[in-house]
Assembly symmetry: C2
Homo-oligomer: 642 residues x 2
């Protein structure tokens, strides 16, 4: 079979592939990653690329979803177009899936200081709770004598009983092998690494001499979009660094549903997804350790938090039954595993704990969030709202907790929106319309490439406030507003003209985008309202609403209320907390007590299945208006004062 060379621009990366290979696969081979939402099914249109040289054989699949103008310019869908000659392919910015670091430094939430937001979490004595999952205990043992000739292991356990409060210890065989020589060659000075394991402590490692200063842990937020990790000094509790990257599973589908379809729709579908996230974590470990003189084997524990699907894929558990009614995961409270067992390169006996989840669509990321906010620790009733492709809501206090999840669609993460994108460089994160002029700010002060969640919320609010759209979200063309234009029979609002953007094409918000956003905000609000009604509370009775999510690094709370996404209450009661999943994971890493609390919360939280819950359906319909069909719910929202 013939082989052709494909050159991908702008990176100038090439791959030699056989005739008939799709451009998507060729890109993968070249090490270039193209966006996809649908997992390569040709239905999302995110993998649009431009053929700048060479011949392709276009058919209806390869040009579906494209405008006539785009087709004339040489655009095709990479997942549907097969190679029949040497080619030069330009991947436009919006189709690039960047493997680069996500912009952590831009983020106003300081991952290294979770205390900033966990104000309400005031344990009686914080030091008694500081007890990392893995601890190093240094000991100088008494040399054996005829009067005291207990076994080496008993000598160590005797010392551990003196130095700790733990009732029981177990040991791995590897630690015993070679132990006798190690102790005798090093004057009976040793450092023992203990790991929490069920009710007792497991001895993971016995090292010669005093290594107790060198014990590290990793907290990981395994998000559907990004994977973020913190390296923590387990002796001091200090965060030594934070790094993030796009979830490498994205090439198999952008959201959890398309990844489940990928995993379940073919033989060996699970493994590539599993391997991808393991690779993510290993790369982050490398990034975090290599410039600090830390050997990855000095990392003895990892706590990961993610939604139920991400947690299953990380452990290589089939996620198929999560997707179909009655939505059953394999497990909610995950077993502790040796990280090495799934290919994560830390200490060979190092442990991996996954924050337990509540149900198929309320996962460990939410439990971690509940821990981070301290909702379950205090008598006041508080709410956590996490807005992603699903909007997950939890309400409760130290006595009870109820949660639910509504399918909101990926709009607030930039998905399903023509120029929507994640909160990375070039994403418009803030929009103000004033006297007909559009002001915007793009992340990294770059030329804009698209709009992320917080920018889209701003747009929706500004459109409503300026009557650019009506209560149902309909765009109204008017001679006063040159920005509302018709293109291929669809109305669009031109947010940024082509001369200001990175690729020279204008950035628009389409009528369809606005409908998506209203459906998303409606679903989230309806879920909040349904849950409040279920527990019989009014919004005013809630002490604090914590809002986490993938909007980006910035969320304008008044505007989020203004579009009817968040309830209309005192703004000071609403706090945007960014990545609470990572924070909760770190808290578990640093406190066995918190890890145990996580399991209690996961077990004791009641999950309301909204897909079978009529009051939610009614609320959803009622919320499909700006701000809401029942204006009394949003008394302070007034679009009148332009």
């Amino acid at each position: 079979m013939s082989s052709y060379r494909i050159n991908f621009l702008p990176d100038e990366k090439t791959a030699d592939v056989e005739a008939g290979t799709t451009l998507m696969k060729a890109a993968e081979k070249a090490g270039v990653y193209i966006n996809t939402l649908c997992g390569g099914k040709g239905v999302c249109g995110r993998c649009r690329v431009k053929v700048t040289n060479g011949k392709i054989r276009a058919d209806k699949h390869s040009i579906s979803l494209l405008s006539k103008e785009e087709i004339l310019q040489g655009y095709v869908l990479a997942c549907q177009t097969k190679v029949v000659s040497d080619l030069e392919i330009l991947i436009p910015p919006e189709s690039r899936l960047e493997e680069a670091q996500i912009l952590l430094d831009h983020n106003p939430v300081d991952y290294s200081s979770p205390e900033k937001i966990a104000l309400h979490r005031v344990p009686a004595d914080p030091m008694t709770l500081y007890e990392p999952l893995t601890q190093k205990i240094y000991m100088e043992l008494k040399q054996p004598s005829p009067e005291d000739n207990v076994s080496d292991m008993d000598r160590i356990i005797r010392e551990l009983r003196k130095k700790t409060q733990y009732p029981g210890f177990e040991i791995s065989l590897r630690c015993l092998q070679g132990l006798a020589l190690k102790l005798r060659k090093n004057e009976w000075k040793a450092t023992v690494t203990l790991a929490r394991h069920n009710g007792i402590r497991r001895i993971l490692q016995i090292e010669a001499g005093n290594t107790s200063d060198r014990n590290y842990g990793l907290a990981v937020d395994v998000g559907t979009t990004t994977v973020v990790a913190q390296l923590v000094n387990l002796k001091s509790g200090d965060v030594l660094g934070v790094a993030g990257s796009h979830n490498l599973q994205a090439r198999f589908g952008e959201d959890v549903i398309s990844r489940m379809i990928y995993a379940c729709g073919r033989d060996e579908g699970l493994n590539p997804l599993h391997q991808a996230v393991v690779k993510n974590i290993n790369q982050l470990i490398k990034t975090l350790t290599e410039d600090k003189g830390i050997d990855p084997r000095e990392i003895t524990s990892i706590v990961a938090a993610g939604n139920t699907t991400m947690s299953h894929l990380l452990l290589s558990l089939i996620p198929c039954s999560i997707r179909v009614d009655p939505y059953v995961p394999t497990v909610n409270v995950y077993p502790q595993v040796r990280a090495a067992e799934i290919g994560i390169g830390i200490h060979p006996e190092g442990i991996l704990e996954i924050v337990p989840g509540i149900a198929s669509y309320v996962g460990g990321d939410i439990v971690a969030g509940i821990l981070a906010c301290g909702i379950a620790d205090r008598p006041e009733t508080r709410v956590l709202i996490d807005v992603g492709t699903n909007g997950e809501i939890a309400v409760g206090n130290n006595e009870w907790m109820v949660c639910c999840s509504a399918s909101a669609g990926p709009a607030f993460e930039g998905g399903g929106i023509k120029h929507g994108m994640r909160a990375t460089r070039g994403a418009i994160e803030k929009v103000v319309i004033s006297e007909g002029r559009v002001q915007y700010r793009a992340i990294g002060r770059a030329k804009p490439r698209g709009v992320c969640g917080s920018g889209l919320i701003d747009c929706l609010y500004e459109f409503a406030r300026h009557r650019i759209i009506d209560g149902e979200g309909k765009l109204h063309p008017s001679p006063d507003n040159k920005r509302v234009i018709e293109k291929d029979g669809v109305l669009n609002y031109v947010l940024v003209p082509g001369n200001e953007t990175e690729n020279g094409e204008e950035i628009v918000i389409s009528q369809s985008d606005i409908s998506h956003l209203i459906r998303s905000k409606g679903a989230v609000f309806a879920a909040i309202k349904s849950l409040m009604d279920f527990v019989g509370l009014k919004f005013g009775e809630i002490e604090t609403f914590y809002v986490a999510g993938g909007f980006g690094s910035y969320l304008d709370i008044p505007k989020a209320i203004g579009i009817g996404l968040l309830p209309d209450i005192d703004r000071s009661k609403i706090q945007f907390i960014g990545n609470s999943s990572l924070m909760g994971a770190r808290m578990c890493l640093l406190s066995s007590h918190t890890m145990e609390r996580a399991a209690q919360i996961a077990k004791n939280t009641t999950n309301i299945e909204l897909s079978n819950y009529q009051p939610f359906m009614d609320e959803y319909v009622a919320a499909m208006f700006l701000p809401h069909t029942d204006g009394r719910l949003f008394p302070s929202v007034d679009y009148g004062g332009i």
Copy 2:
């Protein structure tokens, strides 16, 4: 370098080896195993072979320990003689280390009915104690519904809580992987394998359908000389088979001391010993399963009992500090390990438990023996005596237990005795001298090859009774007795003339053999006496003396008393119990409660270190006489009545 062919007779096995290779190594390469006691150091003389064809270069090392007659006949030591030409080598019977099955069927102790000897062990309700280390629980689960959509794992644990009394469960990752599909493809019918693990139950395996009838366990006695295993049906408790083989470590040294020297005297000395015993166990598994239609992966648990050195070697733990003062093992209470971790081929998650030991020279075999006799279960004070290279003694009841170990030498296992041998085919196990005639019985009704422990005790007793030796064990040549002859300046008693033996050479008991035997019996008796004095009891206050050991399959109790090995008490109070180590291992396999008892016994038994204990030294000197220097201790023994 030149290569030569060595042909070993009588098996006609050949090996091609380089010049300079020792005959010992050549034999190993040919798959022929030659006896050794010293581990190839040229000091024990057990590897005597005859060069029947070809040229050797004999030096003082290769002929040391041989008589002039032997040298003239072409005998050399295999471990000290190097190859310089093609050779034909005859391995005489006494130098052969047979890998054949040990003679289990000859053994009057029925391994399949431990109850026969454990009469005193009467648990309140035997059925509550029958709870094997690994259990299979079959369940038919309710299919998930919107009203009942707990995770698959929670569904299983809910059912386990209904069907068992266990407080907690944990699961291995491997069991979760693929679980969702397995349950859904098999109508929610599954069999869960549980293993005792610390205080909780670990789920090792989840199979589709009902496999609860197929769950097997293995009890193993890892003896220094032989390794014996029983295959047990864990559902019924039935013993399905028993098999034994010589410990393959024998090629590195016959006793524990020479094996420790081998393991510690060179780099990589430990691994060959470890691998050898693992091979033993894997071979026994094959033997026990292959004709029964059982897949080794259906074995889910193993309990092994052995002395402390054997237990360490099985787990690949360095035994070096066991050998030197203050005699410290790495561990006494061994961790549960996955059998696969050390290369034992059962179920990949199957567990291996090792019966805990008390000290370096009172190991898990003794604890297993204590369990088998039920000494620790009843208020009456009883004694267990295990005679091997060490004589181990335990005395106690359900409130206290004290033990000790004395170095007795390998005489009663046939070691260090010119024509001594283990209790295998051709070993003389019974000797009666009557009216000057010697009557003997050899195992397997074969032509005699040597004398095993029980035969040696008989000889010593018969020699004393017939005044062939005096109280100090000196042979007295007399014209009346043609059997006492002098050879190379040493007195010998001709037990069997050459025309009756397998190899045509006469079997003799030498003066040196008799001295060895007296030292051995003296050490064992001194240990018993010291221990009794330590706890302040007289022999008469003991309800039962259980005697285990490597004497062979037969022990004449009155004769053992007659030589002063066992105390002079009512014969009916002494029971010979054979392999109590295997029996105790089986009891642990079948009862988690017993396994826990084992750890309690190991922890709560006081070990008296005789090597530092003056009263023992005094007793030892006093016991170097037949039956004893203090005749009042053996009032019923009377050599007078010929």
